[in-house]
């Protein structure tokens, strides 16, 4: 699914990639907040355009566009549902404000997807794990996260091997009605699950053998340090938040309908 392409980390040397993941996350959360406090089209458009310089700086345009394409389907559904419900509730009338409202909500969804997409595209799982650790999340969770990311490609390969092995025994995964097809996956799922269990056992042995649990005060080879770029982004974030609250409270925002 192309929407997932927009969430996979891409290793590029860009100023955005070098930013502290915690700061980036705070930025994304503020975009999220701003997107929620407004409900008109114009602020959403503004937020959307705001992402573009980040995307260009991070040089992840292609992947970002791909996630846009992936989000397009869901966005269309949201639009259709909103237009549809207002159509039925207002007695089969399709008023322009209602349409504009639907557009705003759709744009809100797109803005949310896109800001998270930039976050994941520019933050390596390593840094994410490190950010979790340094945010005083219990180490077990950060470790579970990085280990999961570490083994996703391994499990994916294994799933393929298992499917091959069962196909070589005459299993035809595409044949049959829905029920049969679901049943066909049993010979693939069971070995996969058993293998995952066996793997966790071996991992646990290796962890114990390397002093897991020796002390509650774990140290770390790496440390996240805040640099100028991080402070700049923090300043921008605060600026956006303050400006948004001000506009929300004091500045009336015209609707497109109103402007036309």
């Amino acid at each position: 699914m192309s929407i997932f392409d927009g969430l996979k980390f891409r290793k590029v040397s860009s100023p955005i990639h070098k930013l502290d993941p915690r700061v980036k996350f705070i930025y994304v959360l503020s975009i999220f907040t701003v997107a929620i406090i407004f409900y008109q089209v114009i602020p959403m458009l503004f937020l959307f355009v705001l992402q573009v310089p980040f995307v260009l700086l991070a040089r992840v345009q292609r992947q970002w566009l791909r996630s846009l394409r992936g989000a397009a389907f869901l966005a269309a559904v949201i639009f259709a549902v909103n237009v549809g419900t207002s159509y039925f509730y207002s007695g089969y009338k399709l008023a322009p404000p209602a349409v504009e409202n639907a557009v705003a909500l759709t744009l809100r969804f797109v803005v949310l997807v896109e800001s998270f997409s930039i976050f994941f595209l520019t933050t390596s799982p390593d840094d994410l794990g490190l950010a979790l650790e340094e945010s005083h999340v219990p180490y077990e969770f950060a470790f579970a996260f990085t280990t999961a990311v570490r083994f996703v490609p391994v499990l994916a390969e294994e799933a393929q091997t298992i499917m091959d092995a069962q196909k070589a025994r005459g299993l035809e995964l595409e044949k049959g009605g829905l029920m049969k097809r679901i049943r066909n996956y049993v010979p693939v799922l069971i070995p996969l699950i058993v293998s995952a269990i066996r793997r966790s056992l071996e991992l646990a042995e290796a962890m114990e053998s390397r002093a897991w649990g020796a002390t509650k005060r774990r140290t770390n080879l790496y440390a996240l340090k805040l640099h100028r770029g991080d402070y700049a982004l923090l300043a921008i974030t605060v600026g956006i938040l303050v400006a948004s609250v001000y506009v929300r409270l004091y500045v009336p925002i015209p609707t497109i309908v109103h402007l036309l």
């Binding site: 294994e158 091997t161 298992i162 091959d164 092995a165 069962q166 196909k167 070589a168 025994r169 005459g170 299993l171 035809e172 049993v186 010979p187 069971i190 070995p191 058993v194 293998s195 066996r198």
Partner: protein, 275 residues
């Protein structure tokens, strides 16, 4: 039985794993495909049962192009035993596990019953008929995987790295098993990097490197050609290593069998009338 003509294959990520491989395997042959990790051995061998189809070139199995048929249809005659039996085992009993493929291929239930019994006996697993495969030891699980492939009696057997994790005795049993299969005129292909094992069985050897076949011939010739081996990162079998050092004595180099080695040395001693 198998005819590969200038086979090229690239994975989805554009990596070209096979760069023009041509090979003919006759019915009843015993062949070892060797080479370093990443040379393309598994990729090549998966063309034989259609798990992978060539991006260029053709693979003919018993005269049928693999692109024109299904994995299931090809597997009827080409039995593939994967390296890790745990990638296949999923049933509640060994019996059901062995019956799985037979049912997939549409055998009648009385035939299934007979074949299961036959396969269990062949691999000394009869006492485990009603046991869960997950409760068996590593070696036993490997035998269950093997039995489940033999049960449908394919003409050709492909064994992917069958010697990994096996101790000496298990390897001897494997050699005996392969001999048994050969006696039944089955075609056997093993993918391996175990030089000593290949030296003992002395099959036809195909050596691959970076997606191409770089050498082909009888085991004793390929496995003793140090230049060929150095290029493909394979080591000489022990006996061949000894004889390479003995070249000042005028001994032949292409010796991999221990009994032949014994004869050569004792004869040399005789002819030089040594104490």
């Amino acid at each position: 039985m198998i005819e590969a003509k200038d086979v090229h294959f690239s994975y989805a990520n554009k990596v070209e794993a096979l760069k023009g491989v041509s090979l003919t395997i006759k019915d009843g042959e015993f062949l070892a495909i060797m080479g370093q990790n990443g040379a393309g051995k598994s990729t090549f061998v998966k063309q034989f049962n259609g798990l992978l189809k060539p991006t260029l070139g053709t693979v003919l199995v018993d005269g049928v192009e693999t692109t024109k048929t299904t994995v299931a249809a090809l597997s009827r005659n080409v039995g593939f035993v994967f390296q890790n039996p745990d990638h296949q085992l999923f049933s509640e009993t060994v019996e059901q596990e062995i019956a799985f493929a037979l049912k997939n291929f549409g055998f009648a239930s009385d035939v299934v019953e007979k074949r299961v019994t036959w396969a269990l006996e062949l691999l000394s697993l009869s006492q485990y008929r009603k046991t869960s495969p997950f409760l068996l030891s590593g070696g036993e699980r490997k035998r269950v995987a093997l039995a489940s492939v033999l049960a449908w009696n394919p003409q050709m057997l492909i064994l992917d790295e069958p010697t990994i994790g096996q101790d000496h005795e298990q390897k001897e049993k494997l050699t005996q098993f392969i001999n048994q299969m050969q006696a039944q005129s089955k075609t056997v292909v093993i993918v391996t990097h175990d030089v000593e094992f290949v030296a003992e069985c002395n099959p036809r050897v195909v050596l691959m490197k970076e997606g191409k076949i770089v050498a082909e011939g009888m085991g004793k010739d390929i496995l003793t050609d140090s230049q060929v081996l150095a290029e493909s990162s394979i080591v000489l079998p022990q006996i061949a290593q000894v004889f390479t050092e003995l070249s000042p004595l005028g001994f032949p180099r292409n010796v991999i069998d221990i009994y032949e080695a014994e004869k050569i040395i004792l004869n040399a001693r005789e002819s030089r009338r040594m104490p």
